[in-house]
């Protein structure tokens, strides 16, 4: 039994210690907002926050999350940076197929929380881990800047 704190709720899971968090979130807890894209930390679709830091849940074992504060896309809107990101995503109509956008928003929210006024270079460094096959990158960049209060 492993106890995790997810989106402010304590959850007890009867899963192997080495099960990646992604499958615990999606299959056991039904939190399907976090996505499977590659299984080897290459695409960022599985990005969640662990103590506010982005982590790739497809490789992080549940055992590593014990005692830490986990936040998924379903709850990030309750954080100031998360809400700003989601609002900007809507204003600029970022999503196309939308499958990568949970991970994109989680990465963007963490960036904005840490660096409220990111430069293009900082956006590159924070966001180049998240793949979008629909090619929404120009709008993601613009949405991050909008969320940062830049024109």
């Amino acid at each position: 039994m492993i106890k995790l704190l997810i989106n402010g709720k304590a959850r007890a899971l009867d899963v192997p210690d080495d099960m990646p968090l992604l499958y615990a979130l999606r299959d056991i807890l039904g939190l399907t907002g976090t996505k499977f894209g590659c299984g080897m930390a290459l695409c960022g679709a599985c990005t969640i926050h662990v103590d506010g830091q982005p982590v790739r849940s497809c490789v992080m074992p549940v055992s590593a999350a014990a005692g830490k504060r986990l936040t998924t896309i379903e709850a990030v809107g309750a954080t100031p940076a998360g809400k700003r990101a989601q609002d900007a995503w809507l204003e600029l109509q970022v999503a196309q197929c939308g499958y990568c956008q949970s991970g994109q928003i989680m990465a963007a929210a963490a960036l904005l929380a840490h660096t409220p006024q990111p430069t293009d270079e900082e956006i590159d460094a924070a966001m180049s881990g998240n793949i979008c096959r629909c090619g929404t990158y120009p709008r993601i960049r613009a949405a991050i800047k909008r969320a940062a209060g830049k024109p």
Binding site: P20, G39, M40, A41, L42, T47, Q53, P54, V55, R56, C58, V59, M60, P61, A64, A107, A110, L111, H114, T115, E122, D124, A125, A126, S128, G129
Partner: protein, 186 residues
């Protein structure tokens, strides 16, 4: 005559011993310049694979840590630990060990010659502040990040010497006074 061929070799060997045997650094170099080590002894960003290509996903050294300019754990919100766990994951394809990160910037080896690396290993300003040969060798002996190179998983190549032989080679080199080769002047 036969000895006209042999003489230059004999003189070279004598010269080597007389200089304290910079050749003793060769086995050490063969390990530290192997990609398993070199890929993280980098300046601005890690490298990957035996070809030493730039790490995918624009992973960078980043700033922060004890020395703000030093970083070594990635951009503030794309830290090494976003992906790299305390063991290998994804069937070994994502490498991992405790404290996965870059070596300090001062310990960059990429682009340096064998001679330059040799000098760097002896310099406390550029070897992680290790003032004795023992301290420097101890790092190579026990640091989990170093040891990972010999158990990298996923069919990655390992350094040409096994770890025990590497430590022996370090000891031998240290005992000889850590002699360094010279860069050949053009």
């Amino acid at each position: 005559m036969w000895w006209s061929f042999a003489l230059p070799l004999v003189f070279a060997q004598l010269a080597a011993s007389a200089a304290g045997g910079p050749a003793l650094f060769d086995p050490v170099a063969s390990v530290v310049m192997h990609r398993r080590c070199l890929n993280c002894h980098q300046a601005d960003a890690p490298r990957q694979t035996d070809r030493g290509v730039r790490h995918a996903q624009r992973v960078v050294r980043g700033t922060g840590g004890a020395n703000p300019r030093d970083g070594g754990h990635g951009a503030p919100t794309l830290q090494c630990q976003a992906c790299h766990q305390t063991t290998n994951t994804a069937e070994g394809r994502v490498p991992g060990v405790a404290h996965w990160s870059l070596a300090p910037r001062s310990m960059t080896w990429e682009g340096l010659s064998k001679a330059q690396i040799c000098q760097q290993l002896k310099d406390p300003a550029r070897n992680g502040n290790r003032t004795t040969a023992h301290e420097m060798i101890e790092h190579m002996r026990v640091d989990p990040l170093v040891l990972w190179a010999w158990n990298p998983g996923a069919n990655r190549t390992t350094p040409p010497l096994d770890h025990a032989s590497f430590v022996k080679a370090l000891d031998a080199w240290a005992a000889a006074g850590m002699p360094c080769p010279q860069d050949k002047t053009p």
